[in-house]
Symmetry: C2
Subunit: 383 residues, 2 copies
């Protein structure tokens, strides 16, 4: 199912498969746009919910839109705020991500501690939309499909997402079905207000949890609508292999000519396994977040740069890596910067991690064009 | 007294007058070397005391020296640790900098709070050297003139400084004289161990506080020795004008062919007033530190980017500024990044501040070459 393609936007072409760095608050953390350009990043993803709260989409519009605001002249995707319906709601309450990762012997997931809001979670959902409590100041905010599209229109991204409810991997069949049906009604409402969308592409979102019939129903329904692309939202079950099954149920039912974006997923193995199942686009905050924690991506997994083994290590993070960091700095220097809490540590680590995943997905694309994807996948994953 | 010159080092020429960004822990805070090169910075200053404590000069030597360690192939200056004799000693105890800034009505300077070491200050001085309590872990460290030169030799900078005692601006005549005489004895010891210095230039340091006869004595003594350049150390009295007087006493007694470095000073007015009195080199941590606090340098002084007046301000920080930040981003965007505590805020602000002072000193140099320094000074300072 692996495929290479091009999605054209008013701000340039997106060659797929592609990794999309996350710029939650209109900035890829610790990276100026010039560094992203330098490493060949073509498209980034910003966050409707966060930008609505601060600085507010009206201010961004007044300043000329998101591209001008953040000085990024390439394509931009904005998510719809739908993921926050989950992450600030059930996700926070149950302490889970899109994949639950319950391991044998553990009865239930741990609760996340430190929520200092005085409420159980930050979101209440009804059929019309969702009410959020701002994580910044506790104020109330309301998102509906119409409002989400309006905000995204003001932001002015090239690709906007339909407003959905991302269900918890711990939700039961009944709730997941009810939620999926609501997401479908919201999809229609998004299309209705976005029909004069001109240059803004609108992607629909497939939901249905880890239930085969729901995923199939959702894939068929979303495919039947005039979206410009299809995103596949969580939840994906308890383990990574559950996510693979979800993709195997969903993707064969999607129209071939539309790009497929797997929302919020971006591990090394995921790129291979999900491209293999027909995914074109990935976004994920992990490479930037891990960089700031000193977890540097290497072919074998992660290198914890704080480890004293690197105290006098002259080698770059990853042999043969062409990124600015690996071309100029040793592990010993990076470790020193992390221990000294120098801001430069976070910059150099982020450059490496983003470069690493960007180049890996570029290589995957090239291997597809060369007809050698399966060979590349096998070789890469065995190491 | 204003003059333009060139000081040649093994890692390139330093055109003076010059502003030297501070890279205390082998990194200019929030700036990768490529950004420094991009803005035309030629030379940086790293800190012997800090690098001795972490990661240790032996590790840096093992990794190929400071240039290779931090991937900076231009000239590097290392200070001697002498400034820490003051800043962690009397400076901390009395809560003062190189200029005391006691204003009428204030009886004495405020003590700095929050020293959690359980001791009054971090340094004890004797005639042989100084014993430091590490600010990192409380361990004891000893610096002598010989040890300081040895550390600086291991670091491998192009220009190293003699080990001195920087006295407090609150010290009396008697102590300042005693300390200056000790600094002179230390200067001889530094020269003695550095006589095989080959490619490393050694600068002597003039002390003497704000006392005319001591400054003159120190200027004459340091000038009589075979140093490659002369640094002028604090203290400089209670007000900026006291510093100007110190320079007027000192500089006419210095050899004309040697560069003159004013240690730790770098305000906008200082560049004009001190170049006017014959200074060639400045280093100062203020532009980078202020940048991280959102104080952005403009011709009129400082712009506090957190001010709500900039909420929707489309203008760059400074009109006509050629730095990457001003060429690409609005005040409104920078304010957003600061409010959101994005690491990118500190990077972009630092780029601007360093670019601003670097270019200002470059313009001062050009005005000297054009015979228009006095005109430029008058025009700039009246605004």
């Amino acid at each position: 199912m692996a495929r290479a393609g091009v999605f054209r936007t008013p701000h340039g072409d997106i060659e797929t498969p592609v990794f999309v760095p996350v710029a939650t608050q209109a900035a890829v953390k610790a990276l100026p746009p010039k560094d992203l350009k330098e490493m060949g990043v073509s498209v980034i993803l910003a966050n409707t919910y966060h930008l609505h709260l601060r600085p507010g989409e009206k201010i961004i519009k007044k300043l000329g839109g998101l591209h001008k605001f953040m000085a990024w002249n390439g394509p931009i995707i904005t998510d719809s705020g739908g993921f926050q319906v989950f992450s600030l709601g059930f996700g926070l309450e149950q302490g889970v991500g899109k994949i639950a990762k319950i391991f044998p012997g553990e009865k239930k997931n741990k609760k996340i501690k430190g929520v200092n809001c005085g409420r159980k979670n930050f979101v209440k959902i009804d059929d019309d939309g969702a009410t959020f409590i701002s994580h910044l100041d506790g104020s109330l905010h309301r998102l509906t499909p119409e409002k989400s599209i309006e905000i995204q229109r003001n932001l002015g991204a090239d690709i906007v997402l339909a407003f959905d409810e991302c269900t918890s991997p711990l939700a039961d069949y009944k709730y997941t079905k009810k939620s999926m049906e609501r997401t479908h009604r919201w999809a229609l409402r998004c299309l209705s207000v976005a029909k004069t969308r001109n240059l803004q592409a609108l992607f629909g979102i497939v939901q249905g949890g880890a239930f085969k019939d729901l995923r199939e129903e959702s894939a068929k329904f979303i495919s039947s609508l005039p979206f410009d692309g299809i995103a596949i939202g969580g939840s994906f079950g308890k383990f990574k292999k559950d996510m693979h099954r979800v993709l195997e149920w969903t993707i064969p039912l999607l129209p071939e000519e539309k790009p497929r974006h797997l929302l919020g997923i971006g591990g090394i193995e995921d790129f291979f396994e999900c491209v293999d199942r027909g995914i074109d686009m990935f976004d994920c905050a992990a490479p930037t977040r891990e960089a700031r924690n000193g977890a540097l991506m290497i072919r074998q997994g992660r290198l914890n740069i704080l480890n004293s083994a690197y105290k006098t290590d002259k080698k770059p993070i990853e042999k043969n890596c062409q990124c600015y960091t690996c071309q100029n700095f040793s592990r010993a220097y990076l470790r020193h910067l992390f221990l000294a809490k120098e801001i430069l540590a976070y910059q150099l680590a982020t450059i490496h991690n983003i470069c690493f995943v960007h180049n890996l997905v570029r290589k995957i694309r090239q291997s597809i064009l060369d007809g050698k994807f399966q060979k590349f996948k096998k070789e890469f994953l065995k190491k």
